[in-house]
Amino acid sequence: MTLADMGLARSSLPRRIYLRWLRLRRSLCFKYLVTLFVAVVLPLTLGAAGEAWFGYRDQSRHLNEVLQLQSRSAAERIDAFADEISVQLGWAVQFPWTDGSDVRHKIDALRLLQQVPAILSIVLVDQSGTERVSVSRVRLNRTGRGSDMSADPAVRGARAGKVWYGPVRYEHDSEPYMRIATAGNLAAAGVAIADVNLKLIWDVIAAIRIGESGHAIVVDDTGRLIAHPDISLVLRGKAGSEDFLRLKQALNANAATIVTTGIGGKPVVAAAAPVTKLGWTVIALQPAAEAYASLRAGLWRSLVLIVIGALIAVALSYGLAMRMSGPIRELEDGAKRIGSGQFDHRIALASGDELEKLATRFNEMAGELAISKQKSERISRLKRFLAPQVAELVENSDGLLDGRRREVVAVFADLRGFTAFSARAEPEIIIAALREYYEAVGAVITAHEATLIQFAGDGVMILLNAPVACADPAHRAVRLAIDLQAAVQSLAKRWSDKGYAMGFGVGIAMGPATVGTIGYEGRLDYTAVGSAINLASRLCDLAGDAQILIDPVVAEQVSCDVRVTWLGERTIKGYSRAMQVFAVVDGESAQRRPRVSITSRAREVLRLDGANPRAALCGLKSASPESPGVGMHPVGH
């Protein structure tokens, strides 16, 4: 159970979700997802944004043109509508008023009514400002002198500017009307005043269609609707005029087309044009949703693409992660098995990619680990037979164990009186004694980096300078022997206390021997064969308790450092002539490294034997030639 898992078990839901998120975030799938997502969605999004932006600019420009054009053309047509009426009115004021001209003027006025459907009624005023003729579609016609209208703004306006346009008036607060007055060219012709039903502008406005539901509207200064394709909005009175006023003001502040909140809260694209003669404003507008429908469609398309891209990214990253995670789990499992020591385990991956290479590496590593393990096992096996250093050497330097001839020093040692002891003592005691004995012997051998070739019962055979070469093997052998004696003698003292009298003898010989491994598949031993070996064995046999017997070669080698006594010639089994035998004189304790000198007799013998100059030199150095056991100066002093 990992730390995170433990946290999961304990913690609250949000924390659990957070931890899960953390784990997810670190997963391969997530990393792929992020990468692919960025790779797919980012360009798509940028593309969509760019397209939308440029599309928006183009569409805005186009809309601006269309709306400006429509609003201007509507304004012009409304101007023309008003112009038309004022021009038509001009017909009614061509002739000056005379007493008998009322009927003629009335017919003119009635004709005008017939001519211009928008006119509801016409009042003709003479030059004095008196009403002379009044015709109407709904009221009774009147002729003859009527009321004085000289103060009427229509009369005054028309007289001042020839044509006068009145303000918009709403009958029953619903139907829009306005008065238009035209003065005749002759002052005597008077003024014609028409009441115009503005519902008729509907034809102008309703004809304007921008897109599907774009349209034009006309508002007066106060924002009140004058014309709208939906005539009911005009008839509805003041309701909504704040909306129109706001729209109008927003447009007045901007020369170009703007996007603003329209009627009913929805955004609209709008442009305005003034109807200069009448002081009205034409607003051409289109719902933004419709005006930018193509843009929106594009955005939706892009969104769909982005979603598809994202889905593909998710699918791909999942697929990839799954494709990766299988082999990775395989690798993980394999590494775990190999780690736990199953070096024969092989990761079977055939993905053909880097993972397969990695698996191959893992497999190779497992192989090498197996070899390495075998090697270390071999070393530890070897270490049972060899000094650890030697074992390493043997393992790591090929050929050292091959058969060859070389100068070796053989050391044989065994216990005296062991046979009698083993016959007498209990097996446990025997084994315990042997264990103590070998522990002591083994420690010394290891300390001197010698090679224990074999042991049988109480006897051991130790080899120096083979298989591992060493400097001054004779000296080493002698010191080894001295240490062995010291170690075993201290054991022997304990044993004698327990009632077992056992001694220890050592024989050392030096000479060429054939070394190498012998045996058969499954049981191989490293051994040495040669007369020096035999001689060492024989010397061991000859040696008494606490004695170290050495052959002349060793004696000669060590004579300058170790005190050696000549024991005379001995016949040794297997040798045709008698052999000079020397003994290491060791009066010191085992811990001391003795600085021994050769006795004079021994030196003599050695000289006779053709001792080397070094031995002679050693002899010269020796302090007292005649006193046996003297001339030895322990270094420790």
Partner: protein, 323 residues
Amino acid sequence: MRRRDFIALAAGALAWPIAARAEEISRVHRILWLSTASGADPFLDGFREGLRAQGYVEGRNVVLQSHYAPGDPQGLRAIVRELKAGDVDLVVSSGAATRAMSAVTEIPVLFAQSGDPVALGIVKSLAQPGTNFTGTTFLSLELAGKRVELLKDIFPKLRRLAVLSNNDHPGEPSEWNATRQAALALDIDPLYIPFFGPREFDAALATVAEARADAMLAFPEPVTLVNRTRVAQFAASQRLPSMFGWSEYCDAGGLLSYGANQRATYFLLARYADRILRGEKPAELPVVQPEKFELAVNLKTAKLFGEELDLSSILFRASKVLE
């Protein structure tokens, strides 16, 4: 500014539901047509035509149920009493039938009124009805005087005018009043010949015959409309130049008519019907007044009177001349 607009639009574009389209005509709507005219109702044709123009197909997405109580508004009251919300989506009525509907408050009612609907109490104002009623008003009151004037224009010798008036019609008293005043202003002696519903119609005609009038004027209302051919023939046989409210009378042989085009009016009502069926509230649909009035002249009838008529004073103003 532009960028802000753009961002707002882009965000808005994605947020707007695509389903924000106008509601299509999907289910079958039921429209109840109430009339005090006889079965052959020329206005129903106008309304039907209008519905067709709005994309309705009878039987598929609209069902027109019609109830006729010829010249008998009382007969309609029984039907109206039975009506409950949900039975029909819309009621279309005209003239006297509208009065029968005034008890209904849940079902939208479209009317074509010759009188003033505000005075009748079915709407609060023309601009914003504020009730379940809306429709058109023909401004008949104003036109009533105009008809007398036009009759006088074509028949200058007019001194005694028989006015045939159905008492059982909303706004009838004010219509008579307007007519009377106009007649008096034009130096004409108006003879009021009222009748109550179809039952008294024949008697009313007999009264006209005995009235020794110079001309005859009939108010536009269901009973005379239903019997327009009879009225027209009666006037011709009595050698009375006749004046009516709608051109249908002229088609049937009447001499003159002056008023709003009824078919156009019902066409407009069909547009309102469509809007109400799409969910708009009658309370917010203003009462519409006709802006075009047609003066119809039947020249065939005019020939009966020969030189007595001053056709020249009328013909240049006529919008419809029947030859």
